[in-house]
């Protein structure tokens, strides 16, 4: 009898200390078994990893793998059935939805910030200046209030979600100069900008840190709050995609990303959670 008493008391304690929502969502995985494979956009990785770790810690019978590869890889692999969830940093094209029968789940907002070297005296640019810089019309920093030095341009590769967002929302679809240097990840972009005093490029707001300096565009301050409240407009959505309606474990995983836990992981990675209606 005494043992039962202690057991129920500890159970009660557990319930009191745990947030009920958290318990409910992770509870859904109890007794489940199997594997979830996730691939695609690199911006998604911190969120996917945090969610995967939390699930695997609580239910060791579930295995979740998370790899990158980029938005295109995400679409292709989920479409061909090689992974269960394919992540993209852009909306799916109609042709992709048609070809593979994909379902899409936007779960986070990511802002793209224009970044320069921390020692660059320029703190803000107008959209017009930004377009002229990236199309190669303005080639020297002194023309926009900076030091007497040529501007070096850094862009992301064709098809990158970050690039698409930037060109659509910040450059009004202007085409960047063809002599821009091309980096193939947010990390590579940051490394190059932090090394080059005359650099200008762009990274996801979640990737901003002391190694680069973000500049304001038309007075818009790039920050998570501003991206969320709509006052910073160079933003994009991050998507999870599945082939057909997600079933079983995959369904649970997607629900978990939308749960309060998932929103915590999204905020921790520097993005803004999308609340599912």
């Amino acid at each position: 009898m005494k043992r039962m008493y202690i057991l129920s008391l500890s159970l009660l304690l557990c319930l009191l200390t745990m947030s009920t929502v958290q318990a409910a969502t992770l509870d859904a995985f109890q007794g489940q078994k199997g594997t979830i494979n996730i691939a695609g956009g690199t911006a998604h990785i911190p969120v996917m990893k945090a969610a995967a770790q939390s699930i695997m810690t609580s239910v060791p019978d579930i295995r979740i793998t998370v790899t990158g590869g980029g938005s295109g890889v995400g679409v292709q692999q989920v479409g061909e059935g090689l992974v269960d969830i394919g992540n993209t940093g852009r909306a799916l094209k109609d042709s992709e939805i048609e070809k593979y029968g994909l379902q899409t789940f936007p779960f986070a907002i990511d802002g793209v910030a224009v970044a320069v070297h921390p020692e660059n005296p320029v703190n803000g640019l107008t959209k017009d200046q930004l377009i002229k810089i990236f199309t190669g019309e303005i080639t020297h920093w002194q023309d926009v209030g900076g030091s007497d030095a040529p501007i070096t341009l850094y862009v992301r590769e064709d098809g990158s979600g970050t690039r698409e967002t930037f060109e659509e929302r910040a450059l009004d679809k202007a085409t960047p100069s063809s002599n821009s240097n091309v980096s193939n990840s947010n990390g590579a972009m940051k490394t190059m900008i932090s090394q080059d005093k005359n650099a200008i490029g762009y990274v996801g707001i979640g990737h901003l840190d002391a190694s680069t300096k973000a500049v304001t565009i038309d007075g818009m301050e790039p920050s998570q709050e501003n991206a969320q409240n709509g006052s910073y407009t160079i933003t994009r959505l991050l998507y999870m995609n599945t082939k057909g309606e997600p079933q079983g474990l995959v369904r649970l995983f997607i629900d978990y990303v939308y749960s309060e836990d998932g929103q915590g992981f999204i905020s921790a990675a520097g993005y803004i959670p999308v609340i599912k209606d």
């Binding site: 590869g69 030095a149 040529p150 590769e157 990158s160 060109e167 002599n179 193939n184």
Partner: protein, 284 residues
């Protein structure tokens, strides 16, 4: 007369060798067939989009890959012209003074260098070489020069090893008599071995070229990747290999993706041509 009885049956080994050879051959054929099958439609259907033009901008429907073809050729020849004389000098040093401590250290270092993955070269290049190049030329430091220097460093050890094995035995053959008539090793190498070793030089050069043209990570991380033909050493360029790595990361289907198979076909063509020429030369 009685033959000794066979103690071992090696027919399994023979079967195994045939299987392995067949497998490799089939893979190569499959690779070529696949690339041709995919590249063909790209060329036929999207021929009007101009794959063989000088302008790459997929958002505006320009899929010209000629800047990348030029990029690959310019970069690998630059690296080759830098690395070949260096490799010949190093090889000469190793053959003429093989017992010197410094030469022994050098030899060990060069053997070790052949085992370093290209991503390590590229990463060190990004951290150490690009800032120097940036100070010399204005710009980003990601340029033809940077990629050439690192690529030369990558292909040089392989070439030294090929040269060493090709020239070493010729020198050894000449040595006893040559030294007896009063010539030293360097004179033997310079006057007798080098003039009769054109094929070894060519083989080493072609092997180096093949490695340089196929490498992806060094140009991807160091050449800047701007889809243009560089007008100088300090300018950014994009090679076919880096181009494929950049586009496959994000594209599935569509004209840009299809044009990659053409790019792959050209890269395969360049590599195959170099390999065929080098084989023919080594055979003769």
């Amino acid at each position: 007369m009685e033959y000794p009885k066979k103690t071992h049956d090696f027919s399994w080994a023979q079967t195994y060798v045939y299987l392995a050879a067949g497998f490799v051959l089939a893979s190569v054929i499959l690779l070529v067939v696949m690339i041709v099958v995919f590249a063909g439609p790209a060329l036929l259907e999207q021929g009007n989009l101009g794959i063989f033009t000088w302008h790459w901008n997929p958002y505006q429907g320009h899929f010209g890959i000629l800047p990348m073809v030029m990029g690959s050729i310019i970069l690998s020849f630059s690296a080759l012209f830098l690395a070949l004389p260096l490799a010949i000098s190093l090889c000469g040093l190793m053959l003429t003074a093989p017992k010197h401590l410094a030469v022994k250290v050098l030899q060990a270092a060069i053997r070790f260098m052949t085992a370093i993955p290209t991503v390590v070269y590229a990463f060190v290049g990004v951290l150490l070489l690009t800032p120097l190049v940036r100070l010399t030329f204005a710009g980003s430091g990601l340029s033809l020069l940077t990629a050439t220097l690192v690529l030369a460093l990558l292909i040089m050890p392989t070439m030294v090893l090929v040269l060493n094995s090709g020239l070493g035995f010729k020198l050894d053959e000449l040595c006893p008599h040559g030294l007896a008539i009063g010539l030293d090793k360097f004179e033997l190498l310079w006057f007798f071995v080098f003039p009769r070793s054109k094929k070894t030089f060519l083989a080493a050069g072609l092997l180096g070229f093949g490695r340089a043209v196929g490498d992806t990570l060094i140009p991807l991380m160091l050449a800047g990747n701007a889809p243009q033909v560089p007008q100088g050493l300090g300018q950014s360029l994009r090679t076919l290999s880096a181009h494929m790595a950049l586009v496959t990361a994000n594209e599935v289907g569509g004209a840009a993706y299809s044009s990659l198979f053409m790019a792959g076909f050209l890269l395969l063509g360049i590599s195959a041509l170099v390999s065929i020429i080098s084989r023919a030369l080594v055979k003769n």
